[in-house]
Amino acid sequence: MAHEPDDRLRSEEDLSALLDGELDAEREAELRAALAHSPALAARLEALRAVDAGLRALPAPPLPADLHARLRARAAVEAAPSGAARAAPARRAPRRFRSAPALAAAAVAAALALVLLLSRPVDELPEERVAEAPPAPAPVPDAPVAPAPPDAAPLATAPPDAAPLAPAPPQPERLAEVDLATASDEEIALAMDWELLQEIELLERLDLLEAMAELEARGRG
């Protein structure tokens, strides 16, 4: 009897599932009946079964005698009072702005930087910037401890020679010289040190966005 390719694939996969005890009773009975009448199918099943036997017979590497001791030593280091810091994935604490005017200035500058960034076509962005967001690592959702792979790409900072996101102010004023009460948003932004902005990591930018939202809320309230 001719079988459609899907039927053939299903039968093939079901042979494996039979070996693995994964078929429901009805399908298992159907397949066993087919096996009884088809030497070719039975030979196929045996070939698959032989693979399992071969895998189980593969030699196992010897367990190093000191592996347990090494593990215990590492666990002891982690359990030591300072171990938590060593064991935890390294993550720099975000810098905090100390004063409200600095916070306000940074928030406005970040907003302007974002607007400028978003208003530019992607192909105008410096290559390093486009590549700045690393691809999301493979999720490990239900691992008991979600590990950051030791070689995970760190949050990139702008390379020192990266082109700025916006035209650099010709003669930026120092922030301390700007009267934050009267200066326009643009003046405050120009007074920001763009190099400082480039050093700010992603998480810190998020902090700035939170600060902006807080200021906006205060303004409304």
Binding site: L19, D20, G54, H68, D142, A143
Partner: protein
């Protein structure tokens, strides 16, 4: 109750010797699995340590929702897949695959000392199977090993690989069929 679950619960509740019991029971099989996954014994040993360290760290959050081995192998599988995705590992793997050609790895064996023919045949067959296994896509390799050697259900493997049982069924069969086709007398797929 699963003996390993009992040990893990004892460890969670402060019995450090129970952790040693878990290591004694599972380190060997785990090393064997990881060595087949990453094709390097030293790396596999490191991953065994890392897997048990994660068990150690997570003890206070442990709840016996599944067999202990399912949980341990899920951790180990994640570690192995992460290891295989490291760029330097991928470069090695690509070289290995290129050397293997389209149909799989080269089955050439190093010159061996003279030994009884049957034993030599068995060694050659084992080495050939191991080489074919190493050349399988990593998820097929993991799915087949966990099912055929460790005896995990498709549902358990699906949790380890973060996929569906239907996908596991297909992965296991593709892996098994590839290896069967490469065995002496097997038909090339």
């Amino acid at each position: 109750m699963d003996e390993s679950v009992r040990l893990m619960l004892a460890f969670r509740d402060g019995d450090e010797s129970a952790f040693d019991g878990l290591f004694q029971r599972w380190a060997g099989p785990l090393l064997r699995y990881l060595e087949r996954m990453v094709s390097d014994t030293a790396t596999a040993e490191e991953l065994v340590q890392e897997a048990f360290l994660r068990v150690h760290r997570a003890r206070e959050r442990y709840s016996p929702e599944a067999r202990f081995s399912t949980w341990l192998y899920r951790i180990a599988t994640n570690l192995a897949l992460n290891e295989l995705r490291r760029p330097q590992r991928q470069a090695l793997h690509e070289r290995h695959e290129h050397g293997a050609g389209e149909d799989g790895p080269s089955l050439e064996l190093a010159a061996e000392p003279v030994e009884p023919e049957a034993l030599a045949d068995a060694r050659r067959a084992g080495a050939a199977l191991a080489a074919r296994l190493a050349a399988l896509p990593e998820r097929q390799r993991a799915a087949l090993w966990l099912t055929a050697v460790e005896g995990f259900s498709y549902a358990e493997v699906a949790r380890s690989l973060e996929t569906t049982e239907k996908s596991v069924k297909a992965l296991v069969h593709r892996a098994r069929a590839s290896l069967a086709a490469a065995r002496p007398g097997g038909e090339e797929a």
